[in-house]
Every structure is written in C-alpha cells, then in structure tokens.
C-alpha cells in the first residue's frame, strides 16, 4: 500500500532543487486552503466590518461635514485620519484577528492536527500560513487605504484633487501610505502569528502591544525604536504633530526602517519556525 508514498518520497526528496519545488507546491496548497478561510470563513466577517469602518465613517463625515475646507488642508487631514484610525486601529486589530487565527483559530476549532499530520515541514507550514495572512491583510487594508484617500480628496474638490494626484505629490503620497500599510501587515502579522501560536490568550499581548504603540510618542528616543509604529511613522509622507507632550526623535530613514522591519520580521518568523518544531497538540488544555 505504501508504493505511492514511496514514489512521492523518491520523487520529492532526492535533491535540494526538488525540495524547493516541493515546498513551493506545499506553500501554494496551504495558501489555497487558508485564503479561502480568510476571505470566506465566518471569522472573516469581523475583519470586513473593521475594514469598512473608516470608509463608512469617511462617507458619513463627508456627507455631513467635510473634513477639509480646501485642498491644502487635505494631506494633513488624511495623514491624521490614516495614522490614528487606519494604521493604529484598523490595520493593527485587523492583523491581530487575521494572524492570530491562523493557528489559534484552528486550535479552537480542533483542526490544526490535520496540518501537523501532513508530510510537510512545520517551517513550510508557518511560511504558508504567514503568507496567506499577509496576502489577506495587504489586499484588504491597502484597498481601505486607497479608498479612504480617494474619498477624502475626491468627494468635494474633484478638479484640484485631480491636479494634486496627477501634477502634484498625490500618487507619491498614496504610494507611501500603501507601503506603510503593507509594512504594518508584515510587522504586526509576524508578531501576531507568533502570539497566536504560543500564547493561550493572545488578547493580552495584543493589548499590551497596542498600548505600547500608542504611548510611543511619550517614550525616549531609544525606547521608541523598540516598536513597529516608530519605523512606520518615519515613512509617513505628511508628518503630523504628536502633541505638546511628545518626545521628539529623529525619524529613521527609509533605507534603514524598511530593511530593519523586514529583518526583524524574518527573525521573528525564524524563531516561530524553531518553536513550532517542539509544539504539541493538546486541545484539551487549550
């Protein structure tokens, strides 16, 4: 009965090249399974609601009392809106929900063992799951970012906003906001994936990180650097004042903050990869 299994083993286990091709196939299979769950599962409803929140709010505000009096104000208005609502709330909690559920959700559903009983390296499993969360969050929250910016600019000042985008810095700013959103998904995603893997009640570390990110403006420059938001804020195209009590720190240049965030993310995922090797499944205790 084992002839097929042996054939596959011979076919897939022969060389490093074959291994890489096998891992790619496995990651694609994990992505298919996970993306279906992330976009169409019952748990995705909360993320959709969260994603719709800033759009709905903007539509409502623009209908009642427009955010800016003229186009010159709009970049600052959007920067504040993006920073406080989209980045710090929607992207943060959206990533928390999506990435924590990649493992924790399956532990709650008692279905994680099917992955652990498949002939797949656990590092490959983590990679596949992380990429599925990343794709989901990037697609959703980048869309939210773009739609919100377009609503802010185009709902009342169509011709000047068109000039702002086509003849001014509009597209460049949009590019940076989307980049920040993607980097936020990368960084927060890795953190929440690890938390969902190893912490029984992931809400507590999520709230702790949320608090830490919010008080970042009060922290001394050295401590500011131990956060995700500091590096993301450094990339914001229209800096906004953080208030009279803020401790001013030099923004980290993009050439440091982007690779730095990616490197830290990679390290966190490698740590998760080593820890998941020793992970046991005991649903009773979860």
């Amino acid at each position: 009965m084992s002839s097929t299994a042996e054939t596959i083993q011979t076919r897939t286990g022969a060389t490093n090249g074959a291994n890489v091709s096998l891992w790619m196939r496995q990651i694609a299979a994990i992505l298919r399974l996970e993306l279906k769950k992330n976009f169409f599962g019952k748990r995705s409803l909360l993320v959709y609601l969260l994603a719709m929140m800033p759009i709905g709010l903007l539509v409502l505000v623009e209908a009642i009392n427009p955010l800016g009096r003229d186009t010159a104000q709009l970049p600052t208005v959007f920067s504040i809106f993006y920073n406080s609502l989209i980045l710090r709330t929607v992207v943060f909690f959206g990533c928390a929900w999506i990435f924590m559920n990649l493992f924790r959700g399956e532990i709650v559903d008692r279905s994680l063992h099917y992955y652990f009983l498949s002939a797949v390296r656990r590092e490959v499993l983590i990679t596949g799951k992380y990429l599925s969360g990343l794709l989901t969050s990037v697609i959703l929250f980048s869309t939210v970012t773009v739609v919100c910016m377009l609503i802010v600019f185009f709902s009342h000042f169509y011709s000047s906003s068109t000039r702002f985008f086509f003849d001014g810095p509009g597209f460049s700013q949009l590019f940076w906001y989307v980049t920040i959103t993607i980097l936020a998904c990368v960084g927060y995603g890795a953190f929440f994936l690890v938390v969902g893997l190893f912490v029984r009640n992931p809400i507590i570390p999520a709230l702790l990180l949320y608090g830490w990110e919010w008080i970042n403006f009060l922290l001394p420059p050295l401590l500011k650097k131990i956060s995700v938001i500091h590096y993301l804020n450094s990339l914001v195209p229209v800096p906004v004042s953080e208030g009279p009590f803020a401790v001013v720190a030099e923004p980290t240049p993009a050439w440091i903050s982007i690779p730095g965030l990616l490197i830290v993310t990679a390290l966190v995922l490698i740590l998760a990869g080593t820890r998941i090797h020793r992970m046991e499944i005991r649903y009773g205790n979860d």
Partner: protein, 314 residues
C-alpha cells in the same frame, strides 16, 4: 527471523508527563506489521501513546521511531503514517473531497495524483456519493468515515486509528473491520484503540493492555492469557451427559486445579494451569467411551477475560 527497526514501531523506555500528570511511563514496545490493539480504560494512556507515535506529542523521556523514522520529522513520517484521530472536527467549509485532496496537496502530491488518491480513498470507505457535500452536513458515522478516508488516502504503511469504530452502524462496522483486516493482510501496521473488547478480539493479531499509563501486558491475546495461567487458571466448560463422573475422573489429574458441576447439571467447569496437558487427559477419558462429550468451550480465553483479570480487578 530478525526484524529490523525499519519494519517496526519501537518505543524505547518512553515516558510522557503532562506537567506532573502521568501520560504513559517507561513504555518499551516493538510493534510489527499486523493489527495491534491498544486496550485499557479511559485515561489509561492509549491516545497518548498514539499521539506520541504521530509526533503530536513529544516524549518527556525515551526514544520513539516509526519504521526507523524519528517522530519529529513530519515530512518523512507522514509519507508512511496515517492517523485517524478521535477529534470529531474538520477545517471549516470543506466538502469531503476538498478535505482529503487539500491535505494530499499540502503533503506535496501533484494535483492529478491527489485527485486520484482522493477518489480511491472515498471509494474505499463508500463515501463517494456524498463526496461533494459539506462535512458540516455529515452524520457522525459519515464524518468518521471521512476521517478514515483522509488517513488512508496517501496509502501509508502505518495506520493509527483512535476508536475508529465509534459512531458507525453495525453494517459499516463490519465492513470497516473487514477493511482493517484487508489492510493488515496487505502488510500494513494497524494500531487501533478500542474499548469494544469483542471487536478487538475479533480483529487483532496482538494487544497492548494499558492501565494508569503503564503497559500491563502485550502480545498475542492467547499468549498473554497463557502467561496468566498461574494466577488465573484457564476455565473450560465441558458439556457432557455425566458431569459428576467426569469431574471425579478429572479431579485426580495434576493439571486440574478445580472441577465444578454446572448449575444445570449438564456440564462441568474445569480450571487448569496446563491447558495442553488437560486436553490430552480429557481425550483419554473420553476415549474410554463411558462419557459422551457434547462440546468443550474455553470460558476465559479471550480478551475480555484478560482485561477483567489484569485491569478490571484493580
């Protein structure tokens, strides 16, 4: 003939503790091909032993290999091993076909082969007509069969089944037992846990009896029973026309420990520590032609008796 560790499941002094709670302790076993049943009361350590074999748990102490593969290498292990767990849960929103083929793809099978294997597995558990229905709409028995199909789909050499007959109706039960026997005849290792002793008795080549995390006995059922002869002499019921006369004749034999006439006066219970010698002696008595024997039935030469003696008494 020596069997190498590549053909065995080997537990070498394996212990598993959940904090301070004992899962299994100092288990040393070598399980060859065929059907091996894990038997014991709730909390005896059956599922722990199975989860250890599948790498879902890691031993606190000791070493464990399945056909020579350490259990912490899933990419190797699950090309050879299939596990049908007790967890009655599935990834959400999938049909049985999607469920099986998805995890074959995760294991690295190419799409065409995954589809063929899925079809074959569904066919084997007779679930093809319902293959495209959502698992959430399945009955308990159908879900059990879906899990079974998933565990055999990649054609493993070792199949581990935790209470695989739970929730199945009598007809499907019989068919499933026949399937297990067929798989064992094909040379597979089947490790089955069950609390239905007569079914275990019917299908197992050997048993591992567990209690409170310890292996209390292991081997072929009759072998295990034979080893208990000193403490628990084997009991045989002889249906005959003159039980009292037979009792008088047999009681003189050294291998007979006890002879007691049945309440209905139509038979005789005999306890013996040496069944082989006892049957020879009985033949001699019957050959004299004075007593007519209708039937001879071992009363406690089965798993239920072994279980009762080893575990039930504790």
């Amino acid at each position: 003939m020596t069997v190498s560790s590549e053909q065995l499941i080997v537990f070498d002094n394996v212990s598993k503790f959940y904090g301070e709670i004992l899962g299994v302790n100092r288990v040393s076993l070598e399980i060859p091909a065929g059907i091996t049943s894990l038997v014991g009361p709730n909390g005896a350590g059956k599922t722990t032993l199975m989860n250890l074999m599948c790498g879902l748990l890691r031993p606190t102490r000791g070493k464990l290999t399945v056909l020579g593969i350490p259990t912490d290498q899933p990419e190797q292990l699950f090309r050879k091993v299939g596990y049908c767990s007790q967890f009655d849960s599935f990834p959400r929103g999938l049909t049985a076909r999607e469920f099986i083929s998805s995890f074959l793809l995760v294991s690295g099978f190419p799409r065409k082969e995954a589809d063929e294997l899925t079809e074959a597995a569904l066919n084997r558990v007779e679930l093809l007509p319902a293959a495209d229905r959502k698992l959430g709409a399945y009955s308990k028995g159908m879900r059990q069969r879906a899990r079974l199909a998933q565990s055999i789909a990649h054609q493993p050499s070792v199949l581990i089944l935790d209470e695989p007959l739970n929730g199945l109706d009598p007809m499907v039960r019989a068919e499933t037992i026949a399937l297990f026997k067929q798989l064992a005849a094909d040379g597979l290792h089947l490790i089955i846990s069950s609390h239905i002793l007569h079914e275990v008795d019917m299908m197992s080549d050997r048993v591992v009896l567990l209690n409170n995390g310890y292996v209390v006995a292991e081997g072929a059922i009759h072998g295990v029973r034979d080893e208990m002869d000193v403490e628990h002499p084997m009991q045989v019921l002889i249906r005959c026309n003159q039980p009292s006369a037979l009792a008088a004749q047999m009681f003189g034999k050294t291998e007979v420990v006890e002879a007691r006439v049945h309440d209905d006066r139509q038979g005789l219970f005999i306890k013996t520590r040496n069944p082989d010698q006892f049957y020879l002696s009985l033949n001699e008595v019957v050959a004299q032609g004075e007593i007519s024997v209708e039937s001879i039935t071992p009363v406690d030469d089965d798993l239920s008796a072994v279980y009762e003696y080893l575990i039930g008494a504790q």
